[in-house]
Symmetry: C2
């Protein structure tokens, strides 16, 4: 085995009430394939945390126990849960502290709004779920094209399933192509989506209109909550 | 909203020690999008269950509390954890009882070995993780091509990430195409794998050889454990 296949990364995934489990579990699968790495699932306390679809996770660390120096900090998204997390000063303080020192500061889906609220995307190109991408300038971030956007040590992924692509790409960057291909083969990651509606450009207009209507209130609320959190976080 | 977009399905995911979380969380994301459906995460007891990558889940139901009549029973895979589950009579008994009555009996990845051990794939075409697919005849099942194989009410998916395609396809079958396209767009499911090694045919020979060597002992053990479990389960 090539020596560089063994590492020693400290990786932390933030979880919080009503986060989207797949945003986290996709990259978690990929990153826990890194031999020698240690992965933490971190929440405000060690109490169980319920996802937006009712999956209940027990964190492996609280904000207090989480190592100060992380190689990868990864923040999954959620809908109303993400807004509530933005309103929580302890969460913003945790993100500011770990984000200032982490080698890679990353997010999946609306997790970028949380990074943004904590001031971690100011002056960076970034992405988010397609619905919340227009909100990035609220945090001083510049929306950029791509399912995954890297700007220096910030890596942000698009909605939900983008976390799988992001995680696998990061495995390739941290080990090498052969290693990542092994992980891809183990995950049998040769996707065959049964429909072709995964982006606003490719989805039928009718489908996009339904989601836009469904999420309109959330977007208004996210802009308001995000603006306030970003202002408040600067003083934390 | 079309009336048929609202349903009333009872869905249960089995979890067990060292299962692969992504096998479950992928289709769980998709199936919990079914308006009106109730989703259970079922384990032997209500105690927390750790996945093979160390994610800790609290089940929502034990074998005893799980409804007798399910619309969808879904069994995720795992590696050594799946073999241990095959050796557990309570798990086999649960699968036999719920599988005999469920409208759809489904699996992702090596979850098909558990269905097989419980006698639920006898006489059915099925698939599994590409590495364990050759073991299906042990259970009287016939390996069939495809990332997802449906034979009457049995639906089996390939390795890990195949669960996402399977889940979305099932949403389409249970509601309609427009509904499923909405879910796909919400999940931003327009995958862009950073490498092209997701099947044994597409992966470089070197990469496949590494995994074959890594898993050789497991395959031998899975055949032995599967054969014994299948014989034992008939009498349960």
């Amino acid at each position: 085995m090539p020596a560089h296949w063994m590492g020693a990364e400290n990786i932390a995934f933030l979880i919080y009430p009503r986060f989207t489990a797949l945003d986290m579990v996709g990259p978690h699968y990929m990153l826990t394939s890194l031999m020698g790495a240690t992965t933490h699932v971190v929440a405000k306390t060690r109490d169980p945390v319920a996802s937006d679809t009712g999956l209940v996770f027990t964190p492996s660390a609280s904000f207090e126990d989480c190592p100060a120096d992380l190689d990868i900090l990864c923040v999954p998204g959620g809908t109303l849960g993400t807004l509530a997390a933005m309103e929580d000063d302890a969460t913003l303080r945790f993100l500011k502290a770990r984000g200032a020192r982490a080698k890679f500061v990353t997010s999946v889906c609306t997790g970028s709004l949380l990074l943004g609220a904590a001031g971690l995307l100011e002056g960076y190109k970034a992405t988010s779920h397609w619905m919340t991408k227009p909100l990035l300038p609220v945090f001083g971030a510049e929306p950029a094209p791509g399912r995954m956007v890297r700007d220096r040590n910030r890596i942000t992924g698009g909605g939900v399933t983008a976390g799988i692509d992001f995680g696998l790409a990061l495995v390739g960057a941290l080990r090498d192509r052969t290693y990542a291909e092994g992980v891809q083969l183990l995950a049998e990651y040769a996707p065959e989506p049964p429909f072709d509606a995964g982006t606003p450009e490719r989805a039928p207009a009718e489908v996009k209109a339904i989601l836009d209507a469904m999420m309109a209130d959330f977007i208004v609320q996210a802009r308001r909550t995000g603006t306030a959190a970003f202002a408040r976080a600067q003083a934390l």
